[in-house]
């Protein structure tokens, strides 16, 4: 399988690898939203953690990924794109934009879908922790 240069670059130099604490720590932190999508037996697990400030802006994002090079690149790119965005802006990111940016071949489209899902899942976790109903304005949240 030939990878695009951008995929190789993210694989070799992944951006924002890490987490804001152990799984137990982040489970109780209200300023952190955690999204874990995929399953080991399918060969892909993506974990995205977002740190959201009081204005509802994603101050920082960290990822971990178990998956192929395209999956790693998709989640690495997702962290770059959502940092500094409001959670509503982040929700507007579409997997097709990731496909385009990384020149993913058809067999790897599911990686971009997972990345989009991980963003949605992390934001949903953040909203849930802060008692915000899905679809309402996050800036109203109080920590």
């Amino acid at each position: 399988m030939a990878y695009s240069d951008k995929v190789i670059d993210h694989y070799q130099h992944p951006r924002n690898v890490g987490s804001f604490g152990t799984s137990k720590d982040v489970a109780t932190r209200k300023d952190v939203g955690v999204g874990i999508v995929g399953a080991p037996e399918c060969g892909d697990v993506m974990q995205l953690q977002i740190k959201v400030n009081e204005q509802g802006v994603i101050e920082d994002a960290k990822f971990k990924c178990f998956g192929c090079g395209s999956a790693i690149a998709s989640s690495s790119l997702a962290t770059e794109w959502i940092k500094g965005k409001s959670i509503d802006e982040a929700l507007s990111i579409k997997n097709t934009q990731i496909v385009e940016e990384l020149s993913l071949p058809p067999v790897k489209i599911h990686c971009s879908v997972l990345a989009e899902d991980s963003i949605r899942s992390a934001i949903a976790d953040y909203k849930k922790k802060n008692g915000i109903a899905a679809g309402t304005d996050a800036a109203a949240a109080t920590h």
């Binding site: 990878y3 874990i36 995929g38 037996e41 974990q47 178990f66 192929c68 999956a71």
Partner: protein, 412 residues
């Protein structure tokens, strides 16, 4: 000594043709190009002589008589001819009927055995696919338990192509002879590497391929026993009646010459080569296992071919691992169907979990593998695995003491 990149560690997929083999083949392209079946002129006689010599070389390697060798295009064809040819010849009922006979094979055979067996299921034969145990070794006892009065054919590979485990072939052959069943073995990964004697090893039909033992691609052989018992086959390919009617078609003289030469070289060099490769593989295995945590060697610890190592690295994914070791040519997951993202059916049949199956590498050494290459491969793999583990959420969970297999994952 500097290592030349990329390193080739995929000798179970195919081997480099030995330059001595190529040299033996060359005259048969442009000078001695005759059809081995042409009886009226020197060109034909040269071709026939060359094929006869190769038949002797192939027979000598396996302790057979030259008359018992049938040339084919490779193991896939040999397996098809052996399995379909014997089943149809010894069928207990005519075409179109049911209960035409029982066949035993193993679930982790190569597709070139599984798929002919599946076709026979549609033709009224009953096939038992033996489930291998966790160590991958099919024993005489397992076959004995599956044997029935109507068992006509048993096909058990000698050594597995993905994990290198060695089945109890001589013992299974003896059982088949006691019970009056024909015994076929797919010996593609075995012959030329390990000592073989079709009489002592109780074999009736045996397949092997030139390109797995430093010969050319597209040429193979099927050993067909002529005495005690005399095995007969129904041909698959009809035509000019070559190979005593078992396989029609103008012989691939050039390829056969190369196949014969490869057999001759293997016979002379097998013993020293085996020891050398075993030493290298042990080093590869030892170094990887000592430098990395959560490593699993797949298949039986000892009963394995000297040159194949199948190893899984917990919590890293196979394709990304291959990406990290671009200059080490090897296989991941299912060796022959790497185009699909399915984890290897061979590893799954051994009960290896999907995650570990996804993270497996098959490293297979060969005639030109060196210690420097092994060292280079170890460095590369250790570096890639560590890089991927710093990124792996599963590795973190493991380090936190959480059992990843107990988590309920959100799948699509």
């Amino acid at each position: 000594m500097a290592v030349k990149l990329p390193i080739y560690m995929d000798n179970a997929a195919t081997t480099r043709t030995d330059p001595r083999v190529v040299e033996a083949m060359l005259p048969y392209f442009t000078e001695k190009f005759g059809n081995a079946a042409s009886r009226n002129h020197k060109f034909g006689w040269e071709g026939e002589d060359a094929v006869d010599l190769a038949r002797e070389q192939a027979a000598a390697l396996i302790g057979a008589s030259p008359k018992e060798i049938v040339w084919t295009s490779g193991s896939t064809e040999s397996n098809n001819l052996a399995i379909k040819g014997a089943a149809r010849m010894y069928a207990k009922g005519p075409e179109g009927s049911k209960n035409r006979g029982h066949i035993i094979a193993a679930a982790h055979e190569h597709k070139a055995v599984l798929d002919p067996c599946k076709r026979l299921q549609n033709e009224g034969f009953d096939v038992t696919f033996l489930q291998p145990p966790a160590d991958g070794v099919i024993t005489r006892a397992m076959v004995a338990e599956a044997m029935r009065d109507d068992t006509i054919l048993v096909s058990i590979m000698w050594a597995n192509n993905e994990i290198g485990t060695i089945n109890e072939v001589p013992e299974i052959g003896a059982l088949c002879h006691e019970r009056g069943a024909i015994f076929h073995t797919d010996a593609t990964q075995w012959v030329g590497k390990m000592p073989t004697n079709v009489d002592k090893d109780n074999i009736d039909l045996m397949s092997w391929s030139g390109h797995k033992m430093y010969g050319p691609k597209g040429v193979g052989a099927l050993y067909v026993r002529r005495r005690n018992p005399r095995v007969r086959l129904e041909a698959i390919q009809d035509g000019g009646g070559h190979e005593r009617g078992m396989r029609s078609g103008t012989l691939n003289v050039t390829g056969i010459v190369g196949f014969g030469k490869a057999c001759e070289l293997a016979m002379h060099e097998m013993d020293t080569e085996r020891e050398r490769l075993l030493g290298l593989r042990r080093k590869l295995e030892r170094d990887l296992s000592s430098r990395l945590e959560v490593v699993q060697v797949n298949g039986h610890a000892e009963r394995r071919l000297p040159h194949i190592l199948n190893i899984s690295f917990g919590y890293v994914e196979g394709e990304s691992l291959l990406m990290g070791i671009k200059d080490i040519a090897c296989s991941s997951g299912s060796a022959c169907t790497s185009a699909s993202l399915e984890p290897s059916y061979v590893l799954k049949s051994l009960g290896v979990g999907d995650e570990l199956a996804h993270s497996s590498l098959r490293l297979s050494l060969g005639r030109w593998s060196t210690e420097e290459e092994v060292d280079y491969a170890v460095e590369g793999i250790v570096k890639a695995v560590n890089h991927l583990r710093t990124m792996s959420p599963l590795w973190d969970l493991y380090k936190e003491g959480i059992d990843v297999s107990k988590i309920e994952w959100q799948t699509h």
